[in-house]
Symmetry: C2
Subunit: 516 residues, 2 copies
């Protein structure tokens, strides 16, 4: 009896089997992060943090190129800074870590307790975002139109007390960048808001190889106090949406609350128009759920801490020296090359351990190219190349390609660039195939998401852009189906037909989806 | 009557007049940092943060080159992690920020208060250092000798509740890197401890141009729980010592407390030997007090966010366009060059404002080279160059040098390298001239520091390396003179004579000084 060869995947859980469990397994097996023992906080391990460092480096260059300057603001924010916000801003989130004491003292029973003598007069909040404290600084720094625009950014940790946490996607502490800018008028502030949005779109679709829809969030999803909120939305492999970055035009509301005024060219005092925009370690969760497969992570080469790993098949014999010399030569030749605009990042992994075990560890980490080099390869001037995004042959064996070393070296940069492109193309094709169009009634929408489809994807609709109580009703209708409006894409084509919620003519396009 | 020309310095306070006040004025006038309104926390402004980014970038490359991998550990540490440490470790510091609640709630009087319903079962401490939480992770990560050495580092913010704060030198929140490593045996751990120390020495004397003594701290100054603590000590311009970095060999004590064990090659369980090492934003305070002068900061070119600033003398006439084109051409030509191993960082400052005001702002920030370009310079192919470390002519005028543009371009990289060298040479000469030798009794030491010298500097002594109660007595004697033992230099020459504290033969050299 002939049996179809079966691939033995590196993970025990498949995406098809249990997507949520698969996600956790990728993170564990790729050694990206782990639970810390501290509620809702994770330890980001070298491979996960290395990806964040790559994101930071590339994004920071974009931020600086836009004339934005990095600063650092305090971790702690006095409680009183929030009181005014809480008063004025509906939807003010109150789940924050509050510091109330500044000393520990023994309790006489071998434990430590907060010292009652060291209670703070005013509690301090661990920053959930730095809007208020940066607003206060802007009010000090800005005097006249000459000081505008004021463009600041901060890379920092922030804390939001989350009840249900998920690594990279929703943790109590996370790492992010927050841009905060002040402008003389609406046009300049709006241009900055959209510049940041476009920076995020290009970054997601470039280095992250993650297709996104950049667009405006509906009114009910605006950042509290914002005049307009924009987002990039990515589709994960099981069809859910991930909001991967946001950019807010805040009007003059925050400036009025914080006293950010300037003297204009006519000598009059005016309030600034402000913006804020941010992305976080959540992007890494997006990369996992966009590119991961049943063998672990696949990291786009531009954000891979290592793009090529060389594994010498050491035998603890005298021949190892020649093999290592060959591998080191290969490493050095690769490190001198440029791919995707930067020197190739290549690691010669000489650690003890079996070569096949090490191979699978790197496969699960998603390193774009793995080279296995045995003594015979070294003697014959060969390399054996495994491309992470084409891992398996038809006969269910690892898809190693034997190449002459010189031939491999000549093509290595192009190969990395091709992987970057291929990952994006694959994700884009999947995303586009998972957008349903032509639904013309709410019942049809309910039926579509009610079907027993595992991965329904997104629905693209025209709508009449309802606001206020009319929008509230739409939100409630969708919520009953566990759906949300993601955003209205920027610069979309004209829309026809009628709004399935209001019956009025549709004025813009929206995406409706389940979301993280 | 002839009068000597008097320099009109850019600062109002001189170092000679009031060093502490001068320090604050440099920070304010160079726009490096300011008080945040949050007790003990500062806002680091773009120029100060830019210097920190330069430090991070260069130091991180050294850390990575040593095979150390960056991770990120939680901001919060459960109280119980400290209880054991407090029990075992004398000198355990208890001034820490304690989080006790996770929600705010309105108090019904228009204010917010910590929600009594949201009190944490176990309070969380905002990390003062990550020893305990990293130790717990190491215990999970290390199984066998194959996992060793485990070399980790973290760039993070930490909090120590300080009663008396001083920007960059001692703030409640500060930024730092903390290296934590685990090794199979003492020799390997000690080698790592000394590698980190040497990395810090080379970094201080290289990029920071700040001469330091690398050496071992006396027993009483060890990090609590450490077997040996090493430091780099820099002399500030008023003669006080600044501990600018530390490296600790922790023996097996921390591993025993955290359960960091491994199976050795013989199959037996053994405790790891661990190290930790760190530098912080305090380095920036050291740079200010090493290189600053009565005109503000002078930043060594290697850590200057901008190395060259071009100031076009705009007149708001039609001729500005040609002037700007000339300046842009100059900027681009400089940006293509390499100095000190990196592309030259050059800024064309086109902001509105008077050229002389802008000049003095950049002088106070300490940018190494300022170029002022007027319409005549542009027409004649000239540049007017002001070198920050040679600011004044004998006639008390700014020391501008007119040069042909091509000549300046040909020499610019060399000029930056010369400034880097000169700043170090100047600081080294001052430091070496301020080390007093030949004091042969405690009375002579007391007399030396008791004299009405404004800047006594350091005293180099031989001593018998007292320990225990004998050392306690020495520490008390010195404390009465506001002095401390800084360290015993590494690899010093043999020492002769007798110890002024014990009368026994001296066995090693120490530096005694007032310190930050």
């Amino acid at each position: 009896m002939n049996s179809q060869p079966t691939i033995r995947h590196a993970l025990t859980t498949t995406r098809e089997g249990d997507f949520a469990q698969w996600y956790q397994e990728v993170i564990a097996e790729a050694e990206m992060a782990e639970e810390s023992g501290v509620r809702g906080c994770m330890v980001i391990k070298p491979w996960g943090y290395g990806i964040w460092e790559r994101i930071q480096k590339l994004m920071d260059a974009e931020i600086k190129a836009a004339g934005v300057e990095n600063c650092y603001f305090p971790l702690f924010i006095p409680l009183s800074y929030f009181a005014k916000e809480a008063e004025h801003v509906e939807g003010f989130a109150k789940e924050m870590a509050v510091v109330t004491h500044h000393r520990l003292v023994g309790d006489g029973k071998g434990s430590l307790v907060p010292d009652p003598e060291a209670k703070l007069e005013e509690p301090l909040v661990v920053r959930p975002t730095s809007e208020t404290v940066i607003g206060a600084a802007m009010a000090r720094w800005i005097q006249s139109w000459r000081d505008l625009p004021l463009l600041t950014n901060q890379w920092a940790n922030v804390v939001r007390w989350e009840m249900r946490t998920r690594m990279f996607l929703r943790t109590s502490e996370f790492l992010w960048q927050e841009g905060h800018t002040a402008h003389a008028d609406r046009d300049d502030a709006m241009a900055e808001t959209l510049r940041a949005l476009e920076m995020y779109r290009a970054f997601a679709e470039g280095p992250l190889a993650m297709p996104v829809i950049a667009g405006e969030k509906p009114e009910n999803e605006r950042f509290p106090g914002a005049v307009a909120t924009y987002s990039i939305e990515a589709m994960m492999q099981e069809g859910k949406a991930l909001q991967a970055g946001t950019s807010h035009y805040l009007g003059t509301g925050f400036a009025e609350a914080a006293g950010i005024q300037y003297q204009n060219r006519e000598g009059q005092q005016a309030y600034c128009h402000t913006t804020s925009w941010g992305v976080s370690t959540r992007l890494i969760g997006g990369v996992i759920m966009t590119h991961g497969d049943d063998d672990g992570l696949r990291v786009p080469p531009q954000i891979a801490p290592q793009q090529i790993v060389i594994l010498p098949m050491l035998r603890e014999t005298d021949e190892d020296a020649a093999l290592l010399a060959y591998c080191e030569d290969l490493r050095a030749a690769l490190a001198r090359q440029t791919a995707l605009g930067e020197p190739i990042r290549v690691l010669l992994d000489k650690r003890p351990g079996k070569a096949t075990q090490k191979r699978w560890a790197w496969v699960k980490k998603g390193v774009p190219l793995v080279l296995e080099i045995g003594g015979r390869d070294a003697a014959g001037g060969q390399v054996s190349v495994l491309r992470r995004d084409r891992l398996w042959r038809a006969d269910a064996k690892p898809n190693f390609l034997a190449q002459a070393k010189e031939e491999f070296l000549a093509g290595a940069a192009g190969e990395l660039e091709d992987i970057q492109r291929s990952l994006f193309a694959e994700a884009l094709a999947r995303r586009d195939a998972s957008i349903k169009r032509g639904i013309d009634s709410f019942d049809a929408l309910a039926a579509f998401f009610g079907e027993d489809q595992r991965y329904p994807g997104w629905v693209e609709l025209g709508w009449a852009r309802p606001t206020g109580v009319e929008l509230d009703a739409v939100v409630a209708q969708l919520k009953a189906l566990k759906l949300t409006v993601r955003n209205t894409p920027m610069g979309g084509e004209p829309v026809s037909g009628s709004c399935i919620f209001t019956g009025r003519p549709a004025v813009e396009r929206i995406y409706v989806a389940r979301a993280y």
